[in-house]
Symmetry: D3
Subunit: 136 residues, 6 copies
């Protein structure tokens, strides 16, 4: 790996830690290590780490895009990293309401279901009912 790629990987991993996301995308690492390097190094090290927007705002617009696109998997972790960065439950609900009016009611239903599932899982972990986060 070139020095540049090593640096951007480190920058990406540092940011992932700051967001509480350092244990994600490991299935990419397993299937295709080079894809994992693109995700950590390019997406997080070169894009997320850019100046021009605060990390909070970058997380808010990413959460908005993900709620709007309503992909089958991959959204749950963004509710978690939003909370990790200090975005409150009330604020996340506002993003769901606002974006849902632009992307349609089924994206509201979907987001509410996903966010409730994340909240439930966190509670189960706190109470010791569950050991590992499974919603990603």
């Amino acid at each position: 790996m070139s020095d540049y790629k090593k640096q951007r990987f480190k920058r990406g991993m540092d940011l992932l830690k700051k967001m509480g996301r350092e244990n994600l995308m490991l299935d990419q690492k397993e299937l295709a290590p080079e894809l994992y390097d693109i995700s950590v190094g390019h997406l997080f090290g070169d894009v997320w780490a850019r100046p021009g927007l605060s990390l909070r705002e970058r997380q808010l617009v990413t959460l908005a895009a993900n709620i709007a696109l309503a992909r089958p998997t991959g959204n749950h972790s963004h509710y978690r990293s939003s909370e990790h960065l200090g975005i409150t439950r009330k604020e996340i609900v506002e993003v769901i309401i606002q974006v849902g009016h632009y992307a349609g009611w089924p994206t509201i239903s979907n987001a509410v279901r996903q966010y409730n599932a994340v909240i439930q899982e966190e509670n189960d972990i706190k109470k010791g009912k569950k050991k590992k986060r499974e919603l990603i």
Copy 2:
């Protein structure tokens, strides 16, 4: 119109003015006045006017959703109201880059083309080459 609907319409119109959007959606008024009332009254008076997110953040997440969805029309005005609310060109470009990685490169191309067209139109208006904003 009930008092409630009158109030929410006024609240919506006040917000639209604050965002420089008061001359938009007039084609809805022409085709279907009740739809115009839902858009001004419900969408702007009851949703956009909610507390819980600043107006700047509400505009940022809406811009993000619109860039991600890349609908054929309706995005241009959000670059304008973003700037009207003080979001800088640099910040808008960052939203395009960030969201584009979550919604795919064609949404980057599309957003850049739309935003450049808005900037061009504003310049043409300043120089007196154009009298009316046409991109909505």
Copy 3:
């Protein structure tokens, strides 16, 4: 809650009962009571309750939109309310075939899988194998 909002909530809830949907969206109520009020009051009380289309036709076009958009969750209940309103299995299949040609074959596969799952669950409930509807 203003009188207007109380009235539209009641109108929405009455309609939900007519469609057999009165026990849905309770996860919204749990996460964010104001969102639940918007869904019952605005979406059902102010939009679904509008004149201009019969309830059967409003359900048909909503089913069509949902099949076309193929969101991860939230479609199952519309097969149920369609049947509740007297739309036959044969008619639902025709909507799937027709819309699927406009939204692509994966939306056909997805709709068939969802509708079969609903039919199965209803059978299980009739036979006492299952106590509660879980597909929403």
Copy 4:
């Protein structure tokens, strides 16, 4: 062409005439005659011509799917064939409002703009200002 394909082509063309759509999809004929045969023969002769839904309802669900998907081109003609089949302006507006709540506000804006353009073009043709329909 086999007898079956000839028959389904005729069935499709007859239906297209009934809907006022017989002069559409000629760009497919020009680029790829076999594709035109699939569109007329399979889509209209074998799918649209199926029993189980009235032609009015088939048009309503197709209009709904198209509004929800908001593709860049191809929607205009469905406002026209809807009116050709007796669906009123008021009903089309209701489909836009209903579907727009499931597919998001930008699909409302987009549909209103398209439908207004179709209405304008029809007026221009009636007044002799325009000779040919161009919105398809």
Copy 5:
């Protein structure tokens, strides 16, 4: 069933066997036999069986479309039929990386999760831990 429809059904079924997909879409058969006939006969017998692209390339572009659209169900089987036709794991990963840049990172995450699940299921079947393929 007309002779033409019988022939195209056979042609479709032959192709499905060549792709290892002959046991799929049986839920369509159960719900609506005529839809199953359209899927086997039209989609596979009349479309997939067309000349002009090799079967490998037709599978590659279909895999690409499915990854881009990221529908909730229906993608898993295309990783399987791709491998059945000799497309390697390395090549499938490249399609995911390439298409993911045009459809956005969540479609990469989604595809990786689906493909890993298929690989896992195949391993479980080889080891006798599982008897039947369930991911479709």
Copy 6:
């Protein structure tokens, strides 16, 4: 710019030339030079230039993804670069037919209209009626 970024930019530009795309994305350069660097350097230099699929196949799957997503702008240039790489008109039509069955008929109409417009523009340039390619 680091050496790595210079190298990947050159690798990207070389590939763009090979595809006849070297004059594209200049509006990105104008609005945001760093975005242009990401597009040329990361998307073309680091992704398109990857081994594992031939350039022809990479173009085919990209064309497929773009037809399926049917974004308002940005597709025209891919019909051109496909032809530039030796993919025939007949093959492009097959991609449209195949993908259109997975993404829905409006994506067929849209692709046919775009591809016909590109063919027309190329003819106009050959005949000297037009000087510059405008469809991008």
